[in-house]
Symmetry: C2
Subunit: 393 residues, 2 copies
C-alpha cells in the first residue's frame, strides 16, 4: 500500500450538534505521556474525575464515573444495568434519542410504551401519568436536551410521577450537562448519562454516568446477569471506586486526562456562570437569526440554549449552504436528523463554542450565503440584533 | 469542593501488560484540534485508518475498523454480532481472556464448551477437534497472545479444524497485533479484535476489529437483533464504510488521529521488521533474566515476544519489588492476574517499549532490587547476557 501522509487538518469552528471546540488546555493535558491504568497517579486522576463529575451532575451518588466509550454507550450502560427482559418501560420519543432509547429497551427484551409527540415539542407530564397508570412500570425515560430537535425537556414533574409510580427515572443529559441547569439529586433522577464532546468541550470518547441508590438497589436485585460484559457497572464500579481497584478493562488513559482538564475549566468558571453564558449567547444568536428571517423550530418556551434548531428558509439549498459554510468560512453546523432531514439546521453553541465571536461570525457568514441563495434581508441586521443583546450595539 | 490542581504526572517507562510507551508523534497528532465526526476531512481519516488496519491485520476484509471503546469491547462486539442464544461455542481457556470470552458467550445465552488447560500452556488442536466432534459448533475461539500468562497460541491447525467443522474462527489479537506475525486472510480467521495500547503503541481507547465474508454472512442471517445497540456492526459499518456515512454514534475523533499516526509509524517500520524487533528484544530480555535467575513461566516454544511472564523468585516480595520499580526507577511492570496473582510478573516489551534501553535498564534495576531481596546473583550478569544477544557485549 502507498504511504499515508502526515495528519494535516483544517482548523474548524465547531457550531454543530457536537463535538464542540476544545480548549487548548484540554488538548495539552490529553497529550501528556501515557501511564498505566493501575498506576497510583492514574488512580488519583480517576478520583479527581469522579469528584468533578459529581459537581457538574450536582449529585452525591457514589457511582458517578465515565464509561469508556461515547455517549450512546452511556445510554446503553444505564439501561442494560437496571432492565431485564419483560420489564415495562415508558419512553418519551420526541426525536432521535428517544427512538434510540426505545431501540435499546427492545433489544433487552422490554415491553416499551412510547410517548410519541411531534419532533421539537416536549413530553407533557399528563402523558407520562397516563402511561404509568396503565401498567406497572420499571423505568420512565426522557431526553433532557434533544439534540436532534433543540427541545428542552422539563424534568421535575415527570420525575415525581415516575417516583410516585415506583419507577426509576432516567434522563439523557448528553447535551445538557455543563450547558444548562442540571440537578440530579434535587430532581430525584435515578440514572443519567452524558457525553464529553458537547458542553464539557472535551473530545468525544467517554460517557459520564451516575446511578442513584435506588438504581443501585435495582441492580443488586436483578434476577439475570447484565447482558453486556463491557458495560456491567457492578464490575466497572470495582475498578473505579473500590479500595483494591480490581482490573476490569484498560481505561482510555489520555481521554481521562482530557475530561479531568475540561471539568477543571468548568469548575473554574462555575456552573451557574457557565449556564448563564450559554443562555446569553443563545439569546444573541436567536435575536440575530430572527433579524435575518431565520426562525427557531423547537417549541416556544422549551428551546435549548446550546442547540438551536432552525427552519431552513424556503428556497434555500440545505447542502449548498452547509457546504459553503464549511469550505468558505470553516464553520460546521449540523443538518437535520431523521424527520428533520433537509428541513432544519442545528446550530450548536456548546462549551467553548458558546462565545460572542462565534455568534457574530456565523451571523455574518449566514447573511452572505442567504443573500446568495436569494433570501431578501437587511444587511447587517443579524449582527446588530445580536450586538444589542450583548450590549455592544 | 476544593479546586483540583493542574495535571502533573511522573514520566513512566511502561513495561507492563499495556499500555506501552506512546511515541511523541502520536501524542502530537492526538492533540490536533477536534473536528466534526461527519467532516469530509474526518471521513478521510477514517479511510486511512481502515486501510492501515487492513495492512496490519494482513487482510482484505471490508469490515475492518476500530470499535469506539477499548479492547474488551472489541471482544464483545465480535461475539454479540455473530452469536445468538442457544449457539454452541468452543472456547480455549488458558488465562483471563479465555475466561472473559466464556463469560460474554454465557451472557449471550450460548452453550459454552471450555477447553481448559493449565495457565501458561497453549490449546492443542486435538482438544479442539474433540470438542467440535462432540456437537455442532457455531464458533471456535482462542487467544493469540494470552496477556495474563505470556502464552503464544499457534492458530493455523485450529483454524482448519474450525473451518472443516463449519464453525467460525475467532481470535483475540489484543496483544499480538503489530508485535508478532498476524495473517488474517492466510490463516482464515473470521473474527479478530485488538487494542491500541499494546504493540501499536497508541493510547487505549479503540478496539480494531475485522470480520471475514463468512462472519458477515452469519451476521446477515441472524434470526434475532444484535443485543447491543452500540456494538451492532451492521449500523456502525454504515458510518465507517457506506457512501453516505450515516450517523450512528460520535466517533472518538482525537483517538482516531492517534491510531492513524501510530499505524503510520508501523507502516514506516514495516511489519516484518517490527515483528523481528519484538523478537530480538524478547530474546535479549530472556537471556538477561535467566542470567540473574529469573525464569520465564509460559510453555517453552510458545512464549510471546511482547509479554514475558516470569516466575517471581522464591523469597521475593512481589508488591515490594514492583512498588520499588515504580517509585525508585519509574518502571511499570505488571503483577499476576487471576491464577498468576503473587506468582508471576508480566514484563511487557510492546511497540515503542520494545527497545534496547528499556531491556538493559530493567535488568539493571532488577539486579539491584533482587539483591536487596536476598537473591544471590552475579553482578552485571543480566546486562552482559542481554548485550551478547544484541551483539554489543
Amino acid at each position: 500500500m502507498n504511504p499515508i501522509g502526515e495528519l494535516n487538518l483544517t482548523q474548524r469552528i465547531l457550531m454543530g450538534p457536537g463535538p464542540s471546540d476544545v480548549h487548548p488546555r484540554v488538548l495539552r493535558a490529553m497529550s501528556s505521556p501515557c501511564i498505566g491504568h493501575l498506576d497510583p497517579e492514574f488512580i488519583g486522576i480517576m478520583n479527581d474525575v469522579q469528584q468533578l463529575l459529581r459537581y457538574v451532575f450536582q449529585t452525591t451518588n457514589r457511582l458517578t464515573f465515565p464509561i469508556s466509550a461515547t455517549g450512546s454507550a452511556g445510554m446503553e450502560a444505564c439501561m442494560v444495568n437496571v432492565l431485564e427482559p419483560g420489564d415495562h418501560v415508558v419512553i418519551g420519543v420526541n426525536g432521535v434519542f428517544g427512538m434510540r432509547m426505545s431501540d435499546i429497551a427492545e433489544r433487552i427484551g422490554c415491553e416499551v410504551t412510547k410517548i410519541e409527540v411531534e419532533w421539537g415539542r416536549v413530553i407533557e407530564p399528563e402523558q407520562v401519568q397516563k402511561a404509568v397508570n396503565a401498567k406497572a412500570t420499571k423505568l420512565v425515560a426522557v431526553v433532557h436536551a434533544e439534540t436532534s430537535t433543540g427541545a428542552h425537556q422539563p424534568l421535575e414533574d415527570i420525575s415525581k410521577i415516575a417516583r410516585d409510580a415506583g419507577a426509576l427515572f432516567m434522563v439523557d443529559m448528553v447535551t445538557s450537562l455543563c450547558g444548562t441547569e442540571v440537578r440530579l439529586d434535587d430532581w430525584h433522577i435515578d440514572l443519567a448519562y452524558s457525553g464529553t464532546q458537547k458542553c464539557m468541550s472535551c473530545p468525544p470518547g467517554l460517557s459520564p454516568i451516575s446511578f442513584s441508590e435506588r438504581a443501585m438497589e435495582t441492580l443488586r436485585n436483578r434476577k439475570t446477569k447484565v447482558q453486556s460484559w463491557y458495560l456491567d457497572v457492578t464490575m466497572v464500579e470495582k475498578y473505579w471506586t473500590d479500595g483494591d481497584r480490581a482490573y476490569h478493562h484498560t481505561a482510555p488513559i489520555n481521554m481521562n486526562y482530557a475530561i479531568r482538564e475540561a471539568l477543571r475549566i468548568v469548575q473554574e468558571e462555575g456552573l451557574e456562570a457557565r449556564w448563564a453564558r450559554h443562555q446569553r449567547n443563545h439569546q444573541a444568536l436567536a435575536a440575530g437569526l430572527s433579524a435575518i428571517g431565520v426562525e427557531l423550530s423547537a417549541q416556544e418556551g422549551h428551546r435549548l440554549p446550546m442547540l438551536n434548531a432552525v427552519k431552513i428558509p424556503e428556497g434555500v439549498n440545505d447542502a449548498r449552504v452547509r457546504s459553503a459554510l464549511l469550505k468558505e468560512f470553516s464553520i460546521e453546523i449540523g443538518g437535520g436528523l431523521g424527520a428533520g432531514k433537509g428541513k432544519v439546521w442545528r446550530i450548536g453553541l456548546m462549551g467553548e463554542s458558546s462565545c460572542r465571536h462565534h455568534v457574530l461570525y456565523l451571523l455574518t457568514a449566514l447573511e452572505i450565503l442567504l443573500t446568495a441563495e436569494g433570501v431578501s434581508l437587511t444587511k447587517g441586521a443579524g449582527v446588530s440584533a445580536a450586538s444589542e443583546v450583548y450590549g455592544v450595539a
